[in-house]
C-alpha cells in the first residue's frame, strides 16, 4: 500500500492498531541482541511449538528491547480487556508452562515482572488503556509497571516505542504515532518552520558534542551545493554505550522518520545510515525498514505526493572507532582510511564528496518526530538549563538493574544509580560513575548529587558523551581504568597527527609502569604535561579529549595513584601489585580452585585447606572465580 495522504496514513494506523490491540491473545518476545544472547530465540521457538501443540490461538510476535536488559528474555502477554503482562528471565520451560496456563485460563506467576494497565502514547499526548477501564480478569498482587523503580523515574521520548512491541513493523509504527510529523514537515510546514520548531525544543546532538541540532540544520540549509547529503551517524564506538544499536534494532522507523524530516529541512536528497559492523542485527533491521518505507512510498520519489525525493542507503562501518568523528566518517564513506581532517570547513559546508552534508546521531534523529508532533515548546519543558529534553543512558557496570534508560536532562546521577539501577547488593558501594566513554571521565561517588546534563558533567571533569554510564564499585581500580581508556585510544588513534599518535602511546606506557609498581611522582607530572599538550594540539576531537579519563582520575583519585606508586593496588586489580592466597579458615578443601588453576599453582588434599604456591601463580584469578566459599583472597 502506497501512503500518499492523510487518509492513507489513517488507514495504515488503523491496520496497525488492529495488530497492537488485537481481538485475541497477543504474545511478544523481545528479540534484540541482548535478548537473543540470553536465549530469547529458544523461548520464541518453545512458545511457537507449544501454541501449536496446545492448539491455543494467539498472535506470536517478535519485538525489540524494552530496556531492562538484565532481565531478558522478556515476554509479554496481552489479552483483550486485560492489562498487558510482562514476564522476565524466561526459559523455554517457562514459555511452555505459560501457554499451558493460558489454555486453562490461568496465568503462571513465577516469572511475572509487572502489569501495564495503560501506557502513554507520547506522540499523541494521551494515555491508552489496555483494559478499557474495566476491572481486569487477572490475579491480584502483580506490581504495576509504573510502580517499578526501573520504569518509574524514566521519561521515554527517544525510547517511546519500547512499550508493547511496536518495533520494526510498518503498520505498528504509525499506530504508535509515527509519520504525521514527517507528513507535516513535507506537506504543510516550510523547512524554516521545521528548523524553528527544533530551535524552540533546544535539542542538542546526542552523539556527544551537544551541538544545537537546529543550528546544524540551518547551516546545511543555507549552504550552496549541487546536492546535499543527510547522514545518520550510527558508528557508536564508545565502549559502554549501546543506545544507538538498540534504537536501530528496535525502532528503526523513528530514526528514519527523523532523517526524512531532516532531509526536507536541509534540502538533502540522499541519505546514508552509517552503522558500525559490530552491530549486524541493527544493519539488518534498518535495511529492512528502508525497504518497507520504499514500498510504502515514504522513501524514494515524490514522497506524500509532493515533489520531494529522498533515498536512503546503509553503509556498514569497518571497525574503526575514529569513524564516529564526522570528517573521518566522511573519509570512510569516500572509500579512504578514516582519518579526520581539520575543521573548518565543516561538513555542513563541505562534506561528503565536497557537498553540504548534515550528520546527526541516531538518538538525536529518533527525538525529532516527537518534537514536531508535540512541539518544540513541549519538549523544552523537560530538562535543565541549556540541556533540554531527555537523554538515553546505557546504565551498566556494577549496579543491580542494568539496562537502557531515558531520563530528563539534569536527573541526579544518584537517582539513576540507586533508584533506577537499584544500587549495589552484597555490601558493595559506589566508587565512581564513568560517563562519556574514552573522552569522558570518572565522577567520584561524593559528586553523584550532580545532574546528568551537558554542563554539570563537563564541570565535573567528564562529558555527557553518547550516553554510556558505567557504575563502578570498590572492586574497580581507577588507575587501571585510566590505563584501560588510554590503551583503547592508543589502539584507535588513526595515527595522522603526532600529538595523538605519540601522546596516547607515551601516556599508556607511563600508566603501565605505574600499575606495575614502577611509577614515580614525576610520572604524574609528565602525565599532566602530556595531557595538556594533547588537548591543545591534537587534530580532532578524539585526540583533544583523549587525556580526559586520565585527568579526571588524577583529579579525583590521586590517592589511588599514590598507593600504586607505593606499590599497592587498593582495589586488588593490578596483577603486578597483588597476591592471591587462600584463607585456611574459610577453605573447605573442595578442590575446585585446584582444578581451575591453569598453572598448577594450587596445592592441597581433598577436604583439607589448600594453598597457593606464589612462584607458580600467574594471577589469572581462576581460583578466585571458582571458589564457592570466598576463601581465595586478593591483597
Amino acid at each position: 500500500m502506497k501512503i500518499r495522504n492523510r487518509k492513507d496514513l489513517a488507514q495504515l494506523k488503523k491496520h496497525g492498531d488492529e495488530q497492537l490491540f488485537p481481538r485475541g491473545v497477543r504474545i511478544t518476545v523481545g528479540l534484540a541482541t541482548c535478548g537473543i544472547a540470553k536465549g530469547a530465540r529458544d523461548v520464541y521457538g518453545a512458545l511457537k511449538r507449544e501454541l501449536k501443540s496446545q492448539r491455543f490461538q494467539a498472535a506470536l510476535e517478535d519485538t525489540g528491547c524494552n530496556g531492562l536488559c538484565s532481565r531478558e528474555p522478556i515476554v509479554t502477554v496481552q489479552m483483550p480487556g486485560a492489562p498487558l503482562l510482562t514476564f522476565a528471565d524466561m526459559t523455554p520451560e517457562d514459555a511452555r508452562a505459560l501457554v499451558r496456563g493460558l489454555k486453562k485460563g490461568e496465568i503462571p506467576l513465577d516469572k511475572i515482572l509487572c502489569r501495564t494497565d495503560r501506557q502513554e502514547d507520547i506522540m499523541a499526548g494521551e494515555m491508552r488503556s489496555f483494559t478499557g477501564g474495566k476491572p481486569a480478569g487477572i490475579p491480584a498482587g502483580i506490581a504495576a509497571r509504573e510502580s517499578l523503580p526501573f520504569f518509574k523515574y524514566q521519561k521515554r521520548i527517544a525510547l517511546r516505542n519500547r512499550r508493547a512491541g511496536t518495533q520494526h513493523s510498518m503498520p505498528k509504527y504509525p499506530a504508535s504515532g509515527g509519520f504525521p510529523a514527517a507528513f507535516s514537515a513535507l506537506t504543510g510546514m516550510k523547512p524554516e518552520a521545521v528548523i524553528a520548531e527544533l530551535q524552540r525544543s533546544g535539542l542538542r546532538g546526542r552523539g556527544g558534542a551537544g551541538f544545537p541540532t537546529a543550528a546544524k540544520w540551518q547551516a546545511v540549509r543555507a549552504a550552496k551545493g549541487a546536492r546535499k547529503y543527510f547522514i545518520c551517524n550510527g558508528d557508536e564506538g564508545d565502549p559502554g554505550a549501546y543506545m544507538d544499536r538498540s534504537l536501530l534494532e528496535s525502532d528503526p522507523y523513528s530514526v528514519l522518520e527523523g532523517m526524512l524530516i531532516g532531509a526536507r529541512a536541509t534540502g538533502a536528497a540522499q541519505g546514508i545510515v552509517y552503522v558500525r559492523e559490530e552491530y549486524p542485527l541493527a544493519i539488518t533491521r534498518v535495511t529492512g525498514a528502508i525497504a518497507e518505507l520504499k514500498k510504502a512510498g515514504l522513501l524514494g520519489r515524490r514522497i506524500f505526493s509532493t515533489d520531494f525525493n529522498f533515498t536512503v542507503t546503509v553503509q556498514r562501518g569497518a571497525g574503526a572507532f575514529v569513524c564516529g568523528e564526522e570528517t573521518a566518517l566522511i573519509a570512510s564513506l569516500e572509500g579512504r582510511a578514516g582519518e579526520p581532517v581539520e575543521k573548518p570547513p565543516y561538513p555542513a559546508q563541505q562534506g561528503l564528496y565536497g557537498m553540504p552534508t548534515c550528520i546527526n546521531n541516531v538518538e538525536t534523529l529518533a527525538s525529532v518526530p516527537v518534537i514536531l508532533s508535540r512541539g518544540g515548546a513541549w519538549y523544552s519543558r523537560t530538562g535543565t538549563g541549556k540541556s533540554r529534553g531527555t537523554k538515553v543512558f546505557s546504565l551498566v557496570g556494577a549496579v543491580d538493574r542494568v539496562g537502557l534508560i531515558e531520563v530528563p536532562m539534569g536527573t541526579p546521577l544518584e537517582k539513576i544509580i540507586y533508584d533506577i539501577g537499584g544500587g549495589f547488593s552484597g555490601g558493595r558501594t559506589l566508587k565512581a560513575v564513568q560517563t562519556g566513554g574514552p573522552s569522558g571521565g570518572c565522577i567520584p561517588a561524593r559528586l553523584t548529587g550532580l545532574g546528568a546534563d551537558y554542563e554539570s558533567l563537563t564541570a565535573a571533569g567528564s562529558i555527557m558523551g553518547s550516553g554510556g554510564m558505567i557504575a563502578m564499585d570498590n572492586t574497580a581500580c581507577m588507575v587501571d581504568v585510566a590505563k584501560y581508556f588510554m590503551g583503547f585510544l592508543r589502539g584507535e588513534s588513526c595515527g595522522k597527527c603526532l600529538p595523538c599518535r605519540q601522546g596516547t602511546q607515551v601516556m599508556y606506557d607511563i600508566l603501565e609502569a605505574i600499575t606495575a609498581g614502577r611509577g614515580t611522582q614525576q610520572d604524574l607530572t609528565r602525565l599532566r604535561d602530556i595531557a595538556g599538550a594533547l588537548s591543545q594540539t591534537a587534530l580532532c576531537g578524539l585526540g583533544k579529549t583523549a587525556a580526559n579519563p586520565v585527568l579526571s582520575s588524577l583529579r579525583f583519585f590521586k590517592k589511588e595513584f599514590d598507593a600504586h606508586l607505593a606499590g599497592t593496588c587498593p582495589a586488588g586489580v593490578c596483577t603486578d601489585l597483588i597476591q592471591l592466597s587462600i584463607n585456611t579458615k574459610k577453605c573447605t578443601g573442595c578442590g575446585l580452585c585446584r582444578k581451575a588453576c591453569p598453572a598448577g599453582a594450587v596445592k592441597g588434599e581433598r577436604k583439607k585447606a589448600h594453598a597457593i604456591t606464589q612462584k607458580a601463580c600467574i594471577k589469572c584469578r581462576a581460583c578466585h572465580e571458582a571458589c564457592p566459599a570466598g576463601a581465595v583472597e586478593i591483597r
Binding site: 540470553k38 557508536e236 565502549p239 552491530y279 553503509q315 558505567i470 572492586t475
Partner: protein
Amino acid sequence: MEAEEKKHIEASLRKYGASERALISVFQDIQKRRGFLSEEAVRTVARGIGIPASRAFSVAAFYGAFSLEPRGRNEIHVCTGTACHLKGADRLAGSIARKLAIAPGGTTKDGRYSLHEVRCLGCCAIAPVVKVNDDIHPQAVQDNISEILENYK
C-alpha cells in the same frame, strides 16, 4: 587467483560501482566470503577501480574489520568494552589464549579458532561477553569458556 574468486570480485565491483567510494564495500564482501583479503585480491580490486595498489592496501590495513591473513574457521571475539573490562575481559582473553596457545590476533595451527579482542559489542548489560562467529555468549567467564568453545568445530 582462482577464476571463480575473480568473478566474485568483478560482481562486487559491478554491484557497488567501480569507484574508490566502493572500496570498503568490496573489501567487506571479500572478507566475508574468504575470511581475509589476500594480496592478490587487494591488487585486483585496486586495478578494477583504477587506484594505486598502495591506496587500496592503506585502507585494507587501516580498518579492523579486514584481515590480510587467513583466519580460523571459528572467530572468537572477546569484548573489551568498559563494562566487560571491569568484569574481567582481559583475564578471560588471557585464559582463552592460554587454552588455545595463541595470542590475541592469532589463529590455531589446526585452523579451528582465531582469537580477537574487540572494542565493544554494545552488549554491556550482559557483560562480560564473547562472540563466537555470529553468536554472542553472555556472562562468559574463565570457568565456562571451554565448554562454550567446544561447540565450535
